[in-house]
Symmetry: C3
Subunit: 344 residues, 3 copies
């Protein structure tokens, strides 16, 4: 069991109070028990600190009670995350190709790789150092997986797709499914072969049951550090920049180009063939149907500045009353006009 | 083949007409053929009874034609469901651990369990009496599955998650995927380990391709009797009460707390860190962005009483005309003011 | 390497310029390199042709520069798709039942079928000539798969479902999961057994992680030629006609009936128990809550003619200003009335 002072070595910062105390777990303020380290990210919860059963706390300032063991850091949430990483244990030891896995002879499997039972690894696949495949993962031919990737159970990566290093893929994600492309042929549709691939950068994470379609001819691209939540649709030829965050059930239509460090709220839809700049925040359930310049906070459908949208939707329920008022006003004005006319 | 009278023993109620008639199947009014039992849940379809080819009917009242064999019950839909359960056959006989399944030695497998080919069962997993795993189900370490659960093909349950008794999980559901939690670290994001789990109560059902994420530190909870449809997103730390019904493609953001006996229409989004009381009905495609008290019927985004919302959206297409009217009225009033001023 | 003239034999049309040129690949205008055949589907990109590095082009008219090798066809996009099909290579040779697959003895497997490692094929399943199952596909009992189907990894087809010929199913699709049907029983819900099936016509394609639920008693039906994108929800008893196109994340609620040759934009919701005619186009993020006649272009929630809807939503952000104007106008009119009254 590490002491508070030992944990401070991981994240920097200074210890106020007794740093020799042993830390046995990490918990939120409300659920903490004796021995736990907790954290506070928002000063408005300061009053709750008196009630916590935790033995120590991470905060961005000294607490009023300076005898309560406190790790003071600039970014408590990040410090909590790093200490929790330390606590949540090491990666399991590599187990190699396990019985019940099917690995093609032409596949190149690096050292320290785990390929669990029920996995399938196709021809000419390359898997980098330390990558871990949970059970029943299917890797089609000619895929490249980088180093230290973590691929959860049931994931499918289709032919020719490329993943960088430290990519985390949650269960049941489909990478490289055919893009949705059909050429009208009379009243029917002719399938356009989707012969491109998907290229995913380092440190990307993709949530459960999300779909990243392969490009028609080139590549669907998700760049370094981008985080995608569950049930997200990324259509063919989409490009998403670095460090962009995409909440659950968002859908990107074909060939949309997204910049770096954007944020998309849940259930938002992005139409095809448009561009979104860098540092754009888009609220949940929005519909993006035109290009978006960098450095904006937008919401709604159609998209508008977030504050303007808030005002608009808050007026929505007044609409029927407004309509009645307008009608009544029209009658009044007509009557006034008539009255004025009679006087002439 | 059971007789109508024999079937009445399952559901109670009284038989009017010839109860000795043999019932060979169950069908809706339109599709029924001779020998079938059909049902009527809404008196407005009474006129269709004359045309049905069915040999008997379930209704909540005697029919005008009392010679037509009728099972009169208080709740015809429930009686239909129970009789259909009788007809749709018994659970398949248990088959134990089948060839092609991988089961860890430390797993505790009760009697009457079926573990189909391609399944993986991790270390220290506990599986209760009579639970049935269809092919290619992956159960990570330390999972507990209760008794008489039915887990369909391709489902993934990640480490430490707990399912109660009689839980039904449709194909390709992801239970216990990592919650979507990242601490900003400069312009990048640092992954917050998700070390909690998912706890699912008795008699819960979860639809195909839905995702229930594990909590960051504690538990994501779905309580007894709740029914979740397909492609639903339940984020980390969400709590859903008992007997709540969630339609397809709904999304619950992190830490939302939902009461008992609520209903959510399809594609609705529930923002994070809010509370919804008991007996709340929320219409489809709604956006819930604030706490909701119990016993309400609401719709829209922003959420409002369902009837108010209906009026508002029905006025929406009048908006451009209203704007023109308003503009015209402004001109008229200005003119009137001017005219009146000139008279002075 | 085929020449341009040889390729023209596949699609018809006439070659302008040097048809003997060898074609080594197919690329979009921007990405093309020497040896590539490119295509132009919209005259507005004509100016870009001068800059392309491609060696030949498909167009629907002669280009200004008639020395540039051009394949002139009526429908360049369709010609591109057909030539790309030729280039993208032949189907892999059939491999039979591969080691690691589990196939029931009662299954009838035609010639030229591939059943990859990790697949499960249940009792009495029928699989037609040339159908290809990628790894870890699960086919429950009594399923019928037609000829030349392509079923990608991780797909689940539950008991009794029927697929036609040349059906393509992308990874991790759930076909035949239970419909979402429960009869209220006090404050709880009683599961209605879903004993129907799913019937899918010839030449249908279904995108990754989509769900097609089985009917309660009869069949959920998707007819010939219909194309469904990723993460789409098709509830029980839905019927979708021929050659209909459904974009990503659309949801059809139970018993909706959809005609032929319709198009649905992404994230649209269709309520249950309603009918949509033929040749209906519905924009993205719409909500369909009433029957829709044939031959219309509609959008919004509530649904309205697409152009009317565009005008309405473009006025939405004027709503707060309109409300203020209306209030001010009311005051002005009241004042005018008073003034006029005083004069009397």
């Amino acid at each position: 069991m590490p002491s508070l002072t030992e944990l401070s070595a991981i994240v920097g910062g200074t210890v106020v109070g007794d740093g020799s105390i042993d830390i046995t777990g990490i918990s939120p303020l409300d659920d903490a028990k004796q021995g736990d380290l907790t954290f506070i990210t928002n000063p408005k919860y300061l009053s709750k600190v008196a009630d916590t059963k935790a033995s120590a706390i991470i905060a961005n300032t000294e607490l009023p009670d300076t005898s309560f063991p406190t790790l003071v850091v600039k970014n408590p949430y990040l410090a909590f995350a790093k200490i929790l990483t330390e606590f949540s244990g090491k990666k399991p030891a590599p187990r190699g190709v396990m019985p019940g896995a099917t690995v093609s002879e032409s596949a190149q499997i690096a050292e320290g790789v785990t390929i669990s039972p029920g996995c399938y690894v196709g021809e000419r696949v390359v898997i980098g150092l330390g990558t871990f495949l949970h059970p029943n993962v299917v890797i089609y031919d000619d895929v490249v997986l980088g180093e230290d990737c973590l691929i959860h159970a049931g994931v499918v990566v289709r032919e020719g797709c490329i993943l960088g290093d430290r990519v985390i893929v949650q269960p049941l994600v489909a990478i490289g499914g055919d893009g949705f492309g059909f050429a009208p042929d009379g009243t029917s549709y002719y399938k356009i072969p989707q012969v491109g691939n998907v290229v995913i950068g380092d440190d990307v994470e993709i949530g459960s049951c999300s779909c990243i379609d392969r490009a028609a001819l080139t590549s669907t691209v998700i760049k370094r550090g981008t985080k995608i939540d569950n049930l997200v649709q990324v259509a063919h030829n989409v490009e998403i920049g670095e460090d962009t965050v995409v909440a659950g059930q968002v859908g990107f239509a074909g060939s949309a180009k997204i910049g770096n460090h954007c944020t998309f709220g849940g259930q938002t839809a992005i139409a095809g063939h448009l561009s979104i700049g860098d540092n754009v925040m888009i609220g949940g359930k929005s519909g993006v149907s035109a290009n978006v310049e960098s450095d904006q906070i937008l919401s709604g459908y159609p998209l508008m500045p977030h504050k303007e949208w808030l005002k608009s939707i808050m007026t929505l329920h007044k609409l029927p009353t407004m309509r009645k008022d307008l009608h009544r006003l029209k009658k009044m004005v007509e009557k006034l006009e008539k009255a004025l006319h009679q006087e002439d």
